[in-house]
Amino acid sequence: MMPNSQDRDRATVQQTGSIRQDEWSQLLVAVGTQRNRAAFERLFAHYAPQIKGFQIKQGGRSDSYEAGEELVQEVMFRVWTRAPGYDPSRASANTWIYTIMRNCRVDALRRQACRPGLDEGLAVEDVWDEALDEQPLVYLQQYREQSSISAALGELPEEQSQVIEKAFVEGKSHQEISSELGLPLGTVKSRVRLGLKKLQGALAGKKSQEVKR
């Protein structure tokens, strides 16, 4: 990566990137820049039930109610502490909170799997960068509204939307999905690929283009 590429990338975003105008992103900015608790309370009222619903769908186990509560606490706490780093031109509030939730899950799994005393290595954010701040940005993207992604998901054949939902909502690997559904691994992988291909239009937005640098 060239030196200063990040500075240049940020400048590019400010000049040409589309700033997310949706309500939740604005509230998140208010939390980040003003430490506004009223805005945070509105975010909590909206996202806490979504996060808990996500977690409950994952397990259906008897402990999933508890796990859902814990996940809400952890995710929303991180939302509060990390909101100053939120950049609405890089991600919608939904997407940013999704990545925080994913990292909380990775953290929880890692704590279970790790030998004690190994916490001093890389943090989950080093490996799963929430803000994608370290990444070069050479594509301009006109983000589609998230509702158009949801609509496109609704049009997928059931067998494709099922595996994609399991992957994101339940956080499962292809192998886990394959065991759970009793399908060959290759079938799961190809359904995921086919589904993603069909979602491509909604995900990329039509105005996405490569910037010459």
Partner: protein
Amino acid sequence: MIEHHPDQNLLLEYANGSLPWAQALAVSAHIQMCPRCTQHLRQLNELGGALLDQSTASEPASDSWSRLMARVDSSEAESAAPATAEPPVAPRKISDPMLSGAPPVIRKLLHTNPPLHWQRVSRGLRAARLVTGQASSEVAFHRISCGAKVAEHDHRGQEITVVLYGSFSDADGVYSVGDFLVRQPGQVHRPTATQDQECLCLSVVEAPVAVTGLLGRLINPFLGIRPA
């Protein structure tokens, strides 16, 4: 120009957090060098965000908000208190020119590791193991001398290679900085570094636990490279 990328399935397993730590490290290193995969990852994250948005809401417990704010208040009181902790130790400078331009995740990994200990694996090939806090895969740097031909070999577990410096080639192609390769066990290859430059790669090899058991692997980790 990066020519070899992780496939959609691997990127999705990175985006949903289900990829094991060591493999995620390799994907992360690639993404930090690759605008194309960064863009794909952004799209996958957007998909995650859309699914979060349409999840069936489930009301949190009645004391959920007050518990959260109690934690927020106590953490803010803590951070407002005068710091008593020692100032953070400045990270060791990375003197190796092959690593100073490595992506951020690799530089951070170096800072959390003891100084690298290079071991000769075979003629023209040296390796240094990295500590990542997990045991399911072996993570190492491999360094091929200018123009050296590595002995033809096979891997016992799936191997991911990310080129961090220089370039190498094998019968299937030429791989340069940022390229991401997956080799399945049984895929024999013989990498050769380019004549004028050393080559440095990150390599992540799945532990072949079923074959030798954990102990054998710990005693001689570089048995992972064996002549075919």
